[in-house]
Amino acid sequence: MNLDRILDVLDKAHGGPVHKERDFNLGVVAATISAKVEKYGLTNTVDVQNPIGSDDDLADRVYQAGFEAAVEIGLLCSDTNRAITFTSEELQTAIDEAPSEFWLGDGDQRVHFQHRNLDDTTAPVWTVPLSIAVSEDIFVEMVHGLASIGVVDCLEGPSLETIYGRPLRSGSPYEHLAGRYQADLMFEGIRRAGRVGMPMDAIGSSTTHYGLLGGYGVEGGYRPKKDLVTILSIADFWTSYESLFKLTQVQVAGGSHISASTWIMLGGYAGGPEGTAVACVAYSLLMFAVFQGSRAGVPPFDLAYMGNSGRRAQWALSVSNQAMARNTNTVYHSVANQVSGPGTKALLYETLVGMTNMAVTGVTNVVGTRSAGGRLTDYLTPLEHQFGGEIFKAAAGMSREQGNDIINKFIPKYESDLVDPPDGQRFQDLYDVAALKPIPQWQQMYEEVKQEAIEAGLPLD
């Protein structure tokens, strides 16, 4: 970590341009993104029939538009109402200084993250699961099951719904305790799976900085040199002291690696798919500049159904990924935001589409799966994470054209249900928890969809 850059960011957060909320959202974010879309001829370039396009020039124009937007918008700190802004030179330097590769983890579980290009055979990195709430009494079993999957490289979530039987409250002392408590449970889960040394993202259960203060860089907690700190900013060009405290805690604890990410709302202040793609690039570049991310990434999130498996979002995801892969040498990461629940084929189809898209558009690392949209406690199982990793790694090396052909076969299988998706069932209903085995019906769905994927051209066998 570079202390001078941290201090520069803090100084900007306390001395940058002042904005009121409405004026920033409409007058700065919406107006700037709209102007860049027009300036770079991006209006009506969305092609929902071909969500993974192969237009290099379009990707480059999205990048240029995003770079300029990043300089003109910056990130507004909600605690100071001041924007953290960078000159073009400062932003470019930050992008150039971001690592193109790094290692996490320990021993035989070390994981290599490296920049990927389009149509790249370099193996991508699969981190599971997202920070979906799980009951405390099955938490270790869930981690054990997830860490036992061979194609899984790293762990992020799940998150705890309670600690010591008490509701986990954001921003409270419970969250401070949860940091260390989650580390204990995660280490026990990976020990049972025989994967001691596996890298982790800190800290799934705590969205505020309190969990990090309690569980990162303390004895028995997450390991500053081996694990990654996740800093999630607020959507659409906002940040806060919470995120900046995480940045300073990494510095204080002698840490090395940050994952800086958030999302852009498709249909929000960035507007439609074209503006969303530009905003994803702009926000991603700012993640490297503000938080010195070893990896960073900003996927879209469609407000119409709170996911990104639909055609508009898949297009915005693809174009912004391609823009970053072609124009930077950074380690880019992203998220497939499914809405269907475990125990349904729809979840597997959504996963197949999202992971294929990201594999062929230069993404190094994906964190997933957002089973049931992450909205229901215990609605995730190891099996969809195995499937996601298999797809991600099998699709690496395929062309964008091949990827587009494949996802076009599967999007029609779920797109009409995105607004009202099936919830599926809980881990306890879909698994023999003690044996960590899926019930036959769920296993059969997995086998059937995997066979469909093979027949569509994914080299899974």
Binding site: A133, R169, A235, G267, L376
Partner: protein, 232 residues
């Protein structure tokens, strides 16, 4: 003023988010001493259309916010001149809502969308912002004379603060003073029922309908079963 052309202008002013034009049309209508029921009904219809188009992805948030602001500007002009409290489609002001994202949670977009739709639908909205401490939400509702407290949470770890507001109202014997509506990504109808909230909605348009339903109820908050609307 009067006739379809003027109403078409009003429609355009709201759709374009043109506050100045909306205000001018309001003043023209008052000067013409016409029945204001009809243009208010037109404006209400337009804002419902805007909300529907936002819900289906045909319009985006900036357009909806600007349209709602134009609608509000028009209503601010004509409201003092409305002959009756209630007019067809939209009243002068339905009621007052204090709304915020709960403690420990700084997500704002969902809350902003709901606040915008409520304002556009005739509610007086006090936006408390994000990271709102439970007692502060209650105090704001008390001091502002609100009928409804709206609480947004986007994280499972901030949902307990929605319950905390209801628990505090119970503990202070004030449960009948306010209707409480909750929402947010992980907030399910079942959770709303479990914590004895009065209303739950999966999106902004439904939130308006739930608020309308609660305020028209003949019962009191403490004795009312959960009011909810499904998406769409």
């Amino acid at each position: 003023m009067g006739g379809s052309n003027e109403y078409e202008n009003l429609r355009e002013a709201i759709l374009d988010g043109d506050r100045e034009a909306a205000v001018a049309i309001g003043h023209d209508a008052i000067e013409a001493a016409q029945d204001l029921t009809e243009p208010v009904g037109v404006a209400s219809g337009v804002i419902r259309e805007v909300g529907d188009k936002f819900g289906t992805g045909e319009l985006f948030l900036p357009e909806m916010v600007l349209a709602a602001e134009a609608m509000q500007a028009f209503m601010d002009v004509v409201t003092p001149h409305l002959e009756s409290e209630a007019t067809e489609g939209a009243s002068a002001r339905h009621g007052k809502v204090v709304i915020g994202t709960v403690q420990g949670d700084i997500h704002s977009i969902g809350k902003n969308i709901v606040a915008t739709m409520l304002s556009a639908s005739g509610y007086e909205v006090v936006d408390l912002g994000v990271n709102v401490v439970p007692m502060d939400a209650i105090k704001a509702a008390e001091s502002g004379g609100a009928s409804i407290i709206g609480l947004s949470a986007l994280m499972t770890t901030s949902m307990p603060y929605q319950k905390e507001v209801i628990d505090l109202l119970d503990a202070m014997n004030q449960r009948d003073d306010f209707w409480v509506i909750i929402g947010g990504g992980p907030v399910t109808m079942e959770y709303a029922d479990d914590i004895n909230a009065n209303g739950w909605a999966p999106d902004a348009a439904a939130a308006v309908q739930v608020c309308d339903h609660m305020l028209s109820s003949k019962t009191t908050p403490a004795s009312t079963n959960l009011v909810y609307r499904a998406a769409g």
